[in-house]
Structure formats: structure tokens, C-alpha cells
Amino acid sequence: MLLKLSRIVLIFIVILIASVYLPHFYWMAASPRIHKPNIYYSPVIKKFLTFKYDNNPNVFCTASDGKTYSRKGSDTLLPFLNYRLLAAKSSMPDSIDDIEIILEDVRRNNFLLRTRPYQLDLPQIPVYPLFESKPERLQLEIPECFFRITKDKMDFINTKTNKQNKQLTEIFTKSLVKAGFSFPSKNIFGNPTTRKAFDEGYFVIDNNNFVYHIKMLKGKPFCVKTGIPNDIRIKKIIIKENSLKEFYGHMITKDDRVFFILYDQYKLQELPNEGYDSSRDHVFMVGNLLYRTISFISTNSVTSTVVNRQYKIVDTLKKTWKDKYQLTPGIISSYIFPFTIMTQDRSSYFTNIFIKHISFKAIYLHIFLLIFTIIYYIKRKKSMIKNWLDLIFVLLFGIYGFISILLFQREDIE
């Protein structure tokens, strides 16, 4: 009995391993190159431009009305994105939509933010450096004390001694309690890097799901309860200090909504989220003096929406293309592999067992292998009744099951 059981267990493990590696090697051999289009909104001609690799050297991009442009011609269509190039060539327009173009304004208003889906699910040692936001020597420095938020305090630990810094712990805990913070924290979001102009500290979700803003100003705590309602289920807040000082960063919720957290009293500005799936899509935001574009990019489509500076929707564009599973190698694979197991997925940084690409088209191969197995067993004079489980394995798991029953045969254990 123990032997029988261990054979079945081993068969399952071979199925598992085969379903990881067979598709893996198949795709190593058969993956085609896929040219994804890049989409930008031209504030000059008020149309989307699609940049896609093409063999034709005269066509660098295509506008949404079908007109094509060369590389040189497209530069002037995106004056904000290419302002350095255009300014160097003195071909920057003087005004767009009657708004005078001042290079400093263009620079300050430009931003590019890209959020990959796995960035929403990252491992973290929950110990953080709290920067001095107004450093005397103007340069941000990694502090000597790092903090963590425990059951009843905001605990500062000296990195040299690994002992608590009593003074900082006390004043910050007091300040948090005064602001109404309920310990412990559920999540802490910040942008702890010295490669930025200034620091906005951390946004911390407390035990009652309220969001607090914590930073250090001249060694003193700054703890404020933001007005963000506690019924918004926050997945991630991505802080990105920007000299424009219009928003602290953006926030993605568990129901796939996207918000900017504004400097203006922490108000939330919702962004269009049509077609967004946070476990699948990259979020790509391009901002400039006049418009903001938010794009959601999956493996086979992109949805771009342009809003003006008052966040009114100006235009939307959706483009689709075939990903590798829709091209010929993918169609062939769907007839071979009933499913694929992956240990990595684009939705997460963590290793896990992800069952993907379930295909019922592989049933033809299953039936073929089943018949093959039956013939083989008849030839080897094996009993079908005794080996019924093998046949089930082949029928259910197709090529994976077939390989594993060949390797662990029933006679071995009798």
C-alpha cells in the first residue's frame, strides 16, 4: 500500500516538473519577437501617435487618423517629450494653444511614471529609514536610525548599536498618538532613496485603515492624518517626489482604481481606469504642460486615455496585437500542453505555483496518447484493469501523465 501510494505521489511530482519544464523549453525554442507599440498623445495635432517598429524607414509613427510620419517629422509633434532636442535645434514652438512655452515650465511639468504589476506585490523587510526632509546641507542623507512600527510605538533603531533610540521613539510615538494613529500599522509606503530633490516621508495605513503622512522636519515629527477615507481598499501607494509639487504619488486600490494623492489637503484625484487589471497591466503615465496620458499595457493590448490638466477626458485609444499565445507557436502549444505551471508570474515578485494557460484543445493529444498507451499495454500483455489509474493519468494530464507513467511503471513495485 505504501509503495502504491509512493508511486502515485512520484507520478504527480513528475507531472508537476514536466508541466514546468516542457513548456519552458518549448517557449525557449519557439518564442517569436513581438513588437509592442508605444503610444503618445501629440498636443500639436491633438491626435495619438503610435510608434511601432516597421521595416519601412520612412514610417516612424502613425497618427490615429492614419497619417504617417518619419522620425524627424515626429519630433516636432511631441514638443514636450523632445524639448531638449528641439531646444538644442532652436525648433521649439513659441506657443501651443496660446500658451507661451517656457522651457523651465516644460521641464518642471514633465513626468514619466511606470508601475509594473509585480511592484504591487513585493517582499519587504519592514524597517525603513526616515530622512530629514529639510536637511541643513540640502542633500538627503540616509539617517543613522531606521524605524519600524510595532504594536504600540514607532520604534527607532540605531543601526550602529542595534538599540532603540529612546528620544526619537518617544517624540514620534507621541506625535502619532496625538494625530489619532491606531497601532500597529497595516502598511508603510515611501520612496526611500537619496536620488531625489526632496523627501516627503511615508504614507502609513493604521489599524483602522486611515492613512497618515509621516515625515521628519528639522528633527521634529510631522504626523498628519490625511483625509483619505478608510473604506478605500488600498493595494499600493507609490510615492514619487516631483518638483511640480502637485501630487505626492499615485495610489492603486484593490478594485483597480487609480488616484493621485494631491498636495492640496491630500485630496484624491481619480484617474481613468478603463480596461485596467492591476495583476496584469503596466501603468504608464506621461505628464506635460497641457495633458496627462495614462496607459494600461497588457501583453496584447494597450489602453491610453488623455486628460487635460483639469482631469477631463480628452481622448482614448485602444490598440491590440497578438501576443505569443495567439501566434502560431502559441496555437501549437495549446494543442500540446493542457496547462503550464510557472513559479514566477508578472503579477508578483514572489515565487509561487501558478497554473496558467489551461487549454482544452490538448484533449486530442490526450486521446491519442491514451490509445497509444492501451496498444502498448496490450502488446506488453499488461492488464488494463490493474493499470486503470495509469490510463486516467494519461487522459487527464496528457503528455505530462504519459511521461510519468512510462517512468514509474506498476511492475516496479510488485
Binding site: R7, L16, Y128, I142, F146, T159, K160, P192, T351, N352
Partner: protein, 223 residues
């Protein structure tokens, strides 16, 4: 009888086990000295920042050591048995052959576990000296698949040694082992297996019985 089997197994692996413990202790000393050197001579806050946000691992020397330990223990325990077919003698003792072989595996497993727990304890004390407890949690989660790989390779290597059919079966078991063990090493940064280590633990436990099939085939004498 079981006591005697235990004693025999101990005679086979004691020097190997001692060598493994020494190797682990050397790695431990190296890591502890590195950490104390950094704290004394440079800015530990920059180092902390690297560990937390760039996900560099200060204990990466540990990575393949459990794997090596598993292979070595398995080699010293089972290689003498299969050379000149001595295992046949053991299987003819007046005991159930399954319980004999399972006892042998259990002895090796316990030895490995004891070594691993000892080294984890040493690292725990060191980490708590240099870092807050959050780092310890991350260490345990990050190294769990490595230690699990050590145990798994021990079980798999034992069944590979006992497996009588050289070319096809043994080669194939080796392939499966490499494939499965590389899943356990497919990690980047820290805490990678936080959500899935229990699944891999379960699969590895199941793999531990694979030696029974090899033994059954050995006894049958399929060559």
C-alpha cells in the same frame, strides 16, 4: 535491532557529519566577522539600506551548503551499501525491509536536521545581535528553501544510489532531482518563498518516500 542499525549508520557518517558542521561553522564565522567589520569600520546605515532596498544577502555563502551536506551524507550512508551489493545483507535481516530502509533514511534525515537547526540557531543569535527581529524573519524565510533543498537532495540522492538500473532510471532520477531542486533555487532577493514554501515543503516530504520504490526494485534485482 534498530539501535544496532542506528549505530551502523552513525559509524558510516560521523566523519562526514563532522566535516559538514565545520564547514557550516566556518561560514558562520566568516559572516559574523564581515558584519562586525562593517559595523566597526563603515556606516552600517548604508549597509542596512542595501540589505533592505537592494535586497543584497549577507548570508549568501549559506546558499549551496545545505545541498552539499545532503549529497555528502547520502553518499557516505548509501554508497558503501550499494558497492558490492551490501544492502542485500541489510535487507535480509529479520525485519521488514521497508522499516529497515526507512530507518536508515530517518537516521540521515535526523542528522541533517540536527546540523541545520544548529546552524540556524547560530545565525539567529548573530542576526539578533546585529539587526532587529524583522531581519531574522526574512533570514528564516529566505533560507528555508535552501535547507529544504538540502533535505530533498538527501532523499533523492539516496534513492538514486539504491536504484539498481544505471543508465535509464538513475539518469532519469538525477534529471528529476536537478529539475526540482532548481525550482527551490529560483529566487531573487529575499522572502521569495514567503507565500509558497509550505507547498514546496509538502512536495519534498512526498519525495522522501521515493527511496521505497528504488529499494523495491533493488530487492527484485532489476538490472
Amino acid at each position: 535491532m534498530f539501535k544496532a542499525i542506528g549505530y551502523k549508520e552513525w559509524l558510516k557518517i560521523r566523519w562526514a557529519a563532522l566535516g559538514i558542521i565545520i564547514a557550516f561553522i566556518l561560514v558562520f564565522i566568516n559572516t559574523a566577522l564581515t558584519l562586525s567589520y562593517i559595523v566597526r569600520t563603515s556606516d552600517p546605515n548604508l549597509y542596512w539600506n542595501n540589505l533592505i532596498f537592494r535586497m543584497s544577502l549577507y548570508y549568501s555563502l549559506l546558499k549551496y551548503l545545505p545541498l552539499l551536506a545532503g549529497i555528502i551524507i547520502s553518499f557516505f550512508q548509501f554508497f558503501p551499501e550499494i558497492s558490492e551489493n551490501r544492502l542485500k545483507l541489510a535487507l535480509h535481516l529479520p525485519l521488514n525491509e521497508k522499516s529497515i530502509i526507512l530507518n536508515m533514511v530517518a537516521f540521515g534525515t535526523t542528522t541533517l536536521l540536527a546540523i541545520f537547526l544548529f546552524i540556524i540557531l547560530l545565525f539567529t543569535l548573530m542576526i539578533l545581535y546585529f539587526f532587529p527581529v524583522e531581519f531574522l524573519y526574512s533570514f528564516l524565510i529566505t533560507t528555508a528553501p535552501w535547507f529544504l533543498a538540502g533535505l530533498t537532495i538527501y532523499w533523492l540522492a539516496s534513492s538514486i544510489f539504491v536504484e539498481p538500473m544505471w543508465l535509464f532510471r538513475r539518469l532519469f532520477l538525477i534529471l528529476i532531482s536537478i529539475a526540482y531542486i532548481s525550482l527551490l533555487y529560483a529566487s531573487k532577493g529575499y522572502n521569495n518563498f514567503e507565500v509558497s514554501i509550505h507547498w514546496f515543503f509538502l512536495i519534498s516530504i512526498f519525495l522522501s518516500v521515493s527511496i521505497l520504490i528504488s529499494t523495491a526494485r533493488f530487492k527484485k534485482g532489476v538490472i
